[in-house]
Symmetry: C2
């Protein structure tokens, strides 16, 4: 008998019918002889509705109270799912974060999990209950209610799976797994049977929306066997996210993704002096604005530099305020913004020991007539900033250049 943690998002529990569908997926695992914990998000648009309610009272609601308000959404959905499981004749019990003991730091709206207590969870599982756990929420050691921020329910599921040493943590989504590229853009994209944590992490970071990077990080850290599965087809096992010990790497690139949510900020003619770049990026870091790509160019015969970098659109206003301060302090000539960009990336653990991957990428883009504005690389990822209008062309060109189009063969090689 194993332990399985399942996670269903808000759209999977949006109404009574969908909740009954989720109950069927849960019962399938229970019938297979497993102890089951199901983590759910708030029903459908509940969180948006609650945010709107708060906005009628305050344009900038207190974060502690916002957490009190938002966490009711998950408490509703866990009670509903527990009722649906009971209706099918199964022993089920809902538990909120406080009842389980999902302990977080004392930070509202984006707390990190410090610990997941397992005594009550295990007791209920041992008594034969299916435990329906509230995602997205936590509690501080003082009993204050917190939320985990974006992707929070994925993280709740992984943390619970880690604490229980579960056999699997299954994240159910609208898609049936992780693909070599977005199938809506690249029709020949193939589903990966397995993908490495490190690859999944980079894919999540560069725009693949299947899993939140934090949940992948946590899964990697605690060796949680994460599976991405379909809410609609419960018998499909989807994509498994695994450690390197579970997979031989046969190909250099596992996936191609595009991120359209970045903005490029260009700081023009920054007088040359020691520490200017550090001053700029230090200021941004202190204010939690995370900078993705950076290029510094030196004009020949001039005593100034240009500094270009990208930030997420959601951070743009704050970034611009900080850059304006910097501009004043350091007598910068101008600041330009370019929202018309896309960051296309290739990700693959196999590129580490294969030379020429970057060259192949640049050549493929050049052959498609796509101009590269900025480049950044990590051990297992290469990203290029290009014009937004060419984003889909770039993804298709790269998918083809790295032989990801050959679905059948790849699947064979990969599906070890």
């Amino acid at each position: 008998m194993g332990i399985v943690v399942q996670k269903f998002g808000g759209s999977s529990v949006a109404d009574a019918d969908r909740i009954r569908n989720v109950a069927r997926a849960v019962i399938k695992e229970k019938k297979a002889g497993n102890q089951v914990v199901v983590v759910v998000s708030a029903m459908g648009k509940t969180t948006d509705h609650l945010m709107k309610l708060a906005s009628e009272i305050s344009s900038n609601p207190n974060k502690r109270e916002l957490d009190m308000l938002l966490t009711t959404g998950e408490q509703v959905s866990i009670a509903m799912l527990a009722m649906a499981l009971q209706e099918e004749g199964y022993k089920a019990i809902s538990m909120n974060a406080l009842q389980i003991g999902i302990i977080t730091e004392n930070v509202h709206t984006k707390a990190r999990i410090l610990d997941v207590k397992t005594d009550k969870l295990k007791a209920k599982l041992d008594e034969g209950y299916i435990v329906v756990a509230a995602g997205f929420q936590g509690v501080t050691p003082d009993g204050e209610i917190t939320t985990l921020g974006r992707g929070g329910s994925d993280t709740s599921a992984v943390a619970i799976a880690a604490a229980l040493k579960a056999d699997y943590c299954d994240i159910y989504t609208d898609v049936d797994g992780v693909y070599t590229a977005d199938p809506r853009i690249v029709s020949s994209a193939s589903r990966l049977d397995k993908v490495l944590y490190s690859e999944m992490l980079e894919l999540a970071r560069v725009g693949a929306k299947v899993l939140h990077p934090r949940s992948v990080e946590t899964a990697k850290q605690f060796d949680v066997k994460l599976r991405v599965r379909s809410s609609f087809n419960h018998s499909d096992t989807g994509t498994m996210v695994v450690g390197e010990e579970y997979m031989e790497i046969y190909r250099p690139v596992s996936g191609v993704a595009a991120d359209l949510s970045q903005v490029r900020i260009s700081v023009i003619n920054v007088p040359e002096a020691p520490g200017t770049a550090a001053a700029l990026f230090g200021k941004l870091a202190e204010n939690n604005v995370s900078v993705d790509m950076i290029i510094q160019t030196h004009a020949i015969n001039a005593e100034t530099n240009n500094i270009d970098f990208t930030v997420a659109k959601s951070d743009l206003n704050q970034a611009l305020e900080l850059v304006a301060e910097f501009k004043k302090e350091f007598h910068v000539e101008d600041v330009l913004i370019n929202e018309d960009i896309s960051k296309v990336s290739i990700v693959g653990a196999g590129m580490i020991d294969r030379p020429g991957i970057a060259a192949t990428m640049f050549r493929a883009l050049a052959q498609a007539g796509i101009n590269i504005q900025m480049i950044s690389t990590s051990e297992i990822k290469i990203s290029c900033v290009i014009a937004k209008s060419r984003s889909e062309d770039a993804v298709k060109a790269l998918h083809s250049a790295f032989d990801l189009d050959q679905n059948e063969e790849i699947a064979k090689v990969y599906g070890i």
Copy 2:
């Protein structure tokens, strides 16, 4: 500096504007130099909406899960009110039953409060916070979430007031106090400045809907100074519910009320044998069907009795099932139901040492041509079951017969 506990019902917090209105009533008490705890119910029709959600999953939802579901309603409203108070520049913090420590017995949907912890409440009040507390909900010593049943938020407020030894517990309602009769029926009804716990308790039991009997009982038990005040006029002090030491009794009857929610069940020709009545009422009691009035009549020259009693309409179906069992076991001839009844009652602590009150009541009804079907009495209450169609006439006749119409004088005498 005093401590004031305020309670606002669901209609008082139905939307953002009304929540702001509540915030003003709270701030008024805070500005007067008091430490303030505000207890609120769920916003408007939230509880009905949640019940409907549950009914889409199950026709008979698990009570524990129903409590998980319903308690989210109060958590939403406390967060909203705390935000509204903060928006006005006041320090406010919402606390649910678990955070406060409102400890109940382990019974779902109608738990009784065992204890209210005051350490966290007092700490927050001493730090200058207005505490916004969730009504209607509790938590067992094991951390299970419970609800208190009908009138639960009133009871929460009184229990918190008792635990804090508050100076006042103010229950804000749609009306501005307790009246000698329902002003919609008796235009000359006058508001009582003070009313005894015992009178309020009987008034609540016989149909006056201002306060739930449980909250009055708790207030009486712990000497909580309860006031019924208007949600719309915050400067009016309303009606104070007090102990006998605070009031000389000048008049025999304080109020007249009618209860239209009772049904009369007649069990016809019950064979005479020892223990038959005990068997019937024992069966009803075991199943928590509470019986109000009972009449047993013996037919001369026959060996059978008729047993008549009244129950609340909400208990009718269950009562009939139990009576059917009884009918089979004891070879009863027939069972009749009469829903066309009203129970009119007069209540007054002054009737204890004044003879002739019952006679005055019966005479007044007779003079109005109203037939009395059943009678029951307590120390400070006399109730008569009459035809529903004559209910308003009866209330008017009794209001007049006991001189309650003389507003001005009564108010003078009463307003000690």
